[in-house]
């Protein structure tokens, strides 16, 4: 008796993708030049044409943001700013399904995740920050902290709309205006968000969206009219930005890469731990900066847990992201797929043992089966370099101290996980771990009230919570 799940596709009819997009500047959609195709990574179908923003587009956008800041936004009370953000939050809730489908088409991630995780968090971010707009005196930054002015924001392709929310909501709540560049692979939900700004009657120029590639991003970073930069992306580009702004007055927050260690002690709640490991590395196809990509397993339970993990992985449903029962969607791009293939080949070459469940992968689109490597040591490339895919490297430890040392032995410091039923052990581990986010007996949990960001080469600053406001404000008296 097998229980096959019949196809359960979410309908695409709810989205209306234009053939071509320009930029959203000063409250209007302007035509762009130099278009490039954006595709659905699950099918390689072309979804639309996106404009490659150049220096003049960035100039226009920064000017609009500056004008909006000076003439309108800085003159509004926090109470009124907050109301715009509440409106945006509510409209996002109203149009939630539309955004979820569009994000799935553009990014390749499953509809279950966009519908149940990404989009609800997006609305929550705006809702949470709306409430801060008129309470900044209580943010721990003195009385009347002031915004910087115009923020330049560059976001990645792994959580397109959520990363937009993480950037735009606090920037606006604190009184800044914004020029935002979405990732070139995933610009569609940002462009649809511009419509929400119009529906919310957000004053012109408060939010500006300029699409493009790395050169567009560089134009934003280097623009003299940008006072504050917020970047989420690779550590490599983060370092470029740090170099570029050295010696200027520009402030920057950087949210970069990671190689999160997920430590499992032998007294962990085993079943839920397996679930947490799966969620930690296969959620969002592993395209997660804070992914639990290194499993550091107490030797005594390693065999038992790896067996359970394999049984569980065989149940992961890989396939059409628009099918409501899909767990693992498409890899976001051909480039990313090549990177994953390169690093996993290195894993094989360096002597780690690869395992994946049997998967029926479509010939079209970019796909990678959920994969684990056992017999991994710290020296392996797959233990040191961020793969950014559904690949888990498994190492073992004997003593708690050894687990911590291995976990911390990385230039990254974004996230870590600890699994144990013993409270004091969890708190001891969290105290030792050099990571900006530590999850105990859970993983990949996000909330607008919970600050997120990394130690060391995982970046500068925090997003979310009271701590996340600091980056967008100058301390008051």
């Amino acid at each position: 008796m097998t229980f096959e799940y019949a196809p359960a596709p979410e309908s695409r009819a709810i989205v209306d993708i234009k053939a071509k997009y320009g930029h959203f500047i000063d409250g209007k959609f302007l035509p762009g030049k130099k278009h490039f195709a954006t595709i659905n990574p699950a099918t390689e179908e072309i979804l639309s044409q996106i404009s490659l923003g150049g220096a003049s587009d960035v100039d226009k956008a920064v000017a609009a943001a500056q004008k909006a800041y000076t003439k309108t936004w800085s003159k509004l009370s926090g109470k009124e700013r907050g109301k715009y953000l509440y409106r945006i939050a509510r409209i996002l809730q109203e149009r939630a399904r539309e955004f979820a489908v569009l994000e799935t088409l553009d990014n390749g991630k499953p509809i279950r995740e966009t519908r149940d995780i990404d989009i609800p968090l997006v609305a929550a971010h705006f809702f949470y920050h709306a409430g801060w707009a008129d309470k900044l005196d209580y943010a721990g930054l003195g009385k009347s902290p002031q915004p910087h002015g115009v923020a330049g924001q560059i976001i990645p392709w792994n959580f397109p709309l959520l990363m937009l929310a993480w950037k735009v909501a606090p920037a606006l709540a604190t009184g800044n205006t914004v020029v935002l560049k979405p990732a070139e692979n995933t610009s569609l939900t940002a462009l649809l968000f511009a419509e929400v700004c119009q529906q919310a009657e957000l004053p012109d120029g408060v939010v500006n969206i300029v699409t493009g590639d790395g050169s567009t991003g560089a134009a934003i970073v280097n623009h003299p009219g940008i006072h504050k930069i917020a970047f989420t992306g690779s550590t490599e580009v983060g370092k470029k930005i740090a170099r570029a702004i050295a010696g200027t007055n520009k402030k920057a927050t950087l949210e970069l890469g990671g190689k999160g260690a997920n430590i499992v002690f032998d007294d962990a709640p085993l079943e839920e731990t397996v679930e947490g490991i799966v969620n930690g590395i296969f959620f969002n196809q592993g395209h997660v900066c804070c992914a639990g990509s290194r499993l550091i397993l107490q030797e005594g339970i390693a065999d038992e847990l790896i067996e359970k993990l394999k049984v569980r992985m065989a149940k992961i449903r890989v396939g059409d992201p628009l099918d409501k029962n899909t767990d693992l969607g498409a890899i976001n791009s051909r480039e990313q797929l090549s990177k994953i293939q390169e690093l996993t080949s290195a894993g094989d070459a360096e002597g780690a043992e690869r395992w994946s469940p049997a998967c029926n992968l479509s010939a079209k689109g970019f796909w990678f089966a959920p994969t684990i490597f056992t017999g991994v040591t710290q020296a392996h490339r797959i233990a040191r370099e961020e793969i950014f895919g559904p690949v888990l490297s498994i190492l073992t430890f004997r003593t708690p101290q050894e687990a911590i040392e291995k976990a911390n032995n990385t230039p990254f410091g974004l996230s870590a996980g600890v699994w144990s039923e013993k409270g004091s052990r969890i708190l001891w581990a969290t105290q030792q771990l050099r990571a900006g986010v530590v999850w105990a007996n859970t993983f990949n949990k996000f909330d607008p009230a919970s600050p997120f960001g990394g130690y060391k080469e995982s970046g500068w600053g925090r997003e979310g919570g009271k701590h996340g406001l600091a980056a967008y404000l100058k301390e008051g008296k």
Binding site: F3, D267, P269, T273, E275, K324, E421
Partner: protein
């Protein structure tokens, strides 16, 4: 007696075994159950799930006001849930109090329902508060009257006060009474056990003591068969099979009121214990109102429009 070679029948051996079971993280278990509840079961798989669920229903009446007439009506419904549609399968079993067993068995045999077993609740159901002698007699009476399945309750008071040996011994004794004439389901009353750790412990305790099925609830106490509770029990039977090569069944009872709930249970089975459990031999659903909702959903799938309670029979 050998308890799969895992415990030796003493309380200390049992306590030792139960103590080394990994704990259940409540939040994690809830999250896993909630995620599985998002599965979208449509078209052909939904149709299959509905028929499978019907065949797994233990159609139940356990009221003080039960009469011969009520039980006979239930039996008719059990054999032919929809008199206008012969393709609807019979249910998994009839479940009644032990003094109704003979009536049920006779009537079932008379109406072409020889293939439908009669399950009897036993051991001072639902409270479990009576002497061992009474519990044994209760069980014996039911089997003599024709019950092929016994649904016993554990002594929750003993369990909650840590007297695992007592709980274990009672199950062993009732299993002896069942012999090879009846299969034994052991009811935990998970709403009273409260924690998932207790549910896991009770699962292993019952299986080691000889249960053929582990069952969530009497249906008299809420919460009953919540998805995380069923999840923990399915994990236990899965792992027990790994350890012993013996497949134990699971029966959620109580709170499964409509087709959506029933399909969620089947998804839990499918993705936890596995498809080998997706048969009435290893999975039953204790319910009464559920059957009509399954029938209405079945009608809607066949006819293409929404059904009405007027078109299904009451029992």
């Amino acid at each position: 007696m050998s308890f799969y070679g895992i415990v030796d029948g003493t309380e200390s051996s049992l306590k030792h075994f139960l103590a080394q079971l990994p704990g259940v993280d409540q939040v994690g278990a809830d999250a896993r159950a909630a995620m599985l509840a998002t599965r979208s079961i449509k078209t052909t798989s939904k149709r299959w799930a509905i028929d499978t669920a019907i065949s797994m229903v233990d159609l139940t009446t356990l009221e003080g006001a039960d009469t011969a007439g009520k039980v006979r009506a239930l039996c008719s419904k059990a054999v032919r849930p929809d008199p206008t549609d012969q393709t609807v399968p019979s249910v998994g079993a009839i479940c009644v109090y032990n003094d109704m067993v003979a009536i049920a068995r006779t009537h079932l045999d008379a109406i072409g329902g020889k293939h439908v077993p009669v399950a009897a609740v036993s051991t001072a159901f639902p409270s479990g508060r009576a002497s061992m002698a009474v519990k044994i007699q209760d069980t014996q009476d039911a089997i003599d009257a024709g019950a092929a399945e016994i649904d016993m309750v554990i002594d929750r008071g003993a369990f909650l006060s840590g007297e695992y040996g007592l709980v274990f011994d009672e199950i062993v004794k009732i299993r002896e009474v069942c012999g090879d004439r009846a299969h034994l389901k052991v009811i935990f009353e998970t709403g009273e056990l409260v924690t998932y750790d207790n549910v896991r412990k009770a699962s292993y305790l019952a299986m080691l003591a000889g249960a053929d099925f582990i069952k969530t609830s009497t249906g008299k106490v809420a919460p009953a068969a919540t998805p995380p509770v069923v999840l923990v029990m399915l994990e236990a039977v899965r792992d027990f099979y790994q350890m012993t090569q013996r497949r134990i069944g699971v029966k959620p009872a109580g709170g499964i009121r409509n087709t959506k709930d029933a399909i969620k249970q089947l998804v839990l089975v499918n993705e936890t214990a596995g498809p080998e459990w997706l048969t009435p031999e290893y999975f039953r659903i204790g319910a009464s109102a559920l059957l009509n909702d399954l029938l209405m959903q079945r009608m809607k799938m066949d006819d293409g429009y929404y059904a009405s309670p007027n078109y299904v029979t009451i029992d």
